[in-house]
Symmetry: C2
Subunit: 190 residues, 2 copies
DNA sequence: CCCTTTGTATTATGACCGTACGACCATAAG
DNA sequence: CTTATGGTCGTACGGTCATAATACAAAGGG
């Protein structure tokens, strides 16, 4: 009685997680209802609770998945310090600013994540630190531990810059801010 | 027929704006309902629409008021560049991190503001730029215009750092991040 | 000093959306 | 063709924004 083939449910679950990640980044966590989230995955709200215990459960899972995906994308960039500069320039680009649903979950959701419960914040912390350790290894392969705080601070600069650039109505100023952010991030990495 | 004395309604309105500002910073914009916002001001939801056209109207007004208040507080700090260092240290302090409802509206709400309608973002832009111009005048009294982008970028660093420090569950790391943020902010201001 | 006038706030109501759950159905595996 | 799995649909109950009808309080006129 191997009923359905294990993959079906897992694949559906993964589809929900991925579409939810995009929806959260577009509309915010509080701004995304379960019915909408399920609709994005081509399902109806009733099926939700067969996959997740609660909305908070999905939030934590989606945040983790988004950061895992971001980490994988970052790992594919040219290795070492050269790659870091590429990463900074892509992160602080008008394209990234104008497409939040395809971009960094921290930039889209960080203050809402800060108001989430401890389990969600714990998942966020672990996932971000994994990315930071990758960055630190690029920056200082001989002593990544001490570089952790440095890259964390540069990450904070990039997140804040992108958020601010998204909030400003003056597009020209928002562009200038991105460019200044690139210069400052690169300066802090030296 | 001067019935009530003009001040009464204006005072009530101002009380709503101020308590709403605190509530938004604590619970988020989407996370704060009209009934709760009015309850914070000692009123019931029905009275809301005698003071504001809509919730969005209050959001824009409260954001503006919060930034105006922040600007006034910052103006009271020791003048010139010396004051800037004080500001950075107070902003990136554990006290500020642990009391979002009394702190910077950008740190508490920036990504949600980025998802607001254009009128709200316009009000935000104007209010933030007023603060930035004050900062620029402190940093480079002889040429404040060119310093605007610099201080805007440092502001982004401070906002992102505080948000990240709030989201991390590792308190020790969050403290280290604040200290690194201070060092980096001061370095960028040189 | 009462009583009307007028502005403010409360309570009640509207239609809709939020999370969560349970009953039912369809389909795929054996 | 049975079975249980993954899904839809319907439902409960509370919260959302917003409006309307109602109660109340304050100031001025008689």
């Amino acid at each position: 009685m191997a009923r359905y083939g294990k993959e079906h449910k897992l694949a559906t679950r993964q589809r929900i997680i991925e579409t939810a990640g995009r929806r959260f980044k577009r509309s915010g966590i509080d701004g995304s209802g379960v019915a909408t989230l399920m609709g994005d995955a081509g399902l109806t709200n009733g099926a939700f609770y067969a996959h997740f215990e609660s909305k908070e459960d999905l939030v934590a899972t989606a945040v983790s998945d988004q950061l895992r995906e971001q980490r994988e994308q970052l790992a594919a960039v040219a290795p070492g310090r050269a790659g870091l500069e590429q990463i900074v320039r892509a992160y602080l680009s008008p394209e990234h600013r104008d497409n939040p649903e395809e971009g960094c979950p921290s930039a889209a959701l960080l203050d809402e994540i800060g108001r989430c419960g401890e389990p969600t914040r714990q998942v966020y912390t672990d996932s971000v630190l994994a990315i930071m350790d990758d960055f630190a290894a690029r920056l200082a392969p001989e002593d990544p531990a001490s570089a952790r705080t440095t890259v964390l601070s540069v990450y904070a600069l990039m997140v804040g810059t992108l958020q601010l650039s998204r909030a400003l109505t003056d597009r020209g100023l928002a562009d200038e801010l991105l460019e200044q952010g690139i210069r400052n991030a690169l300066a802090l990495l030296d």
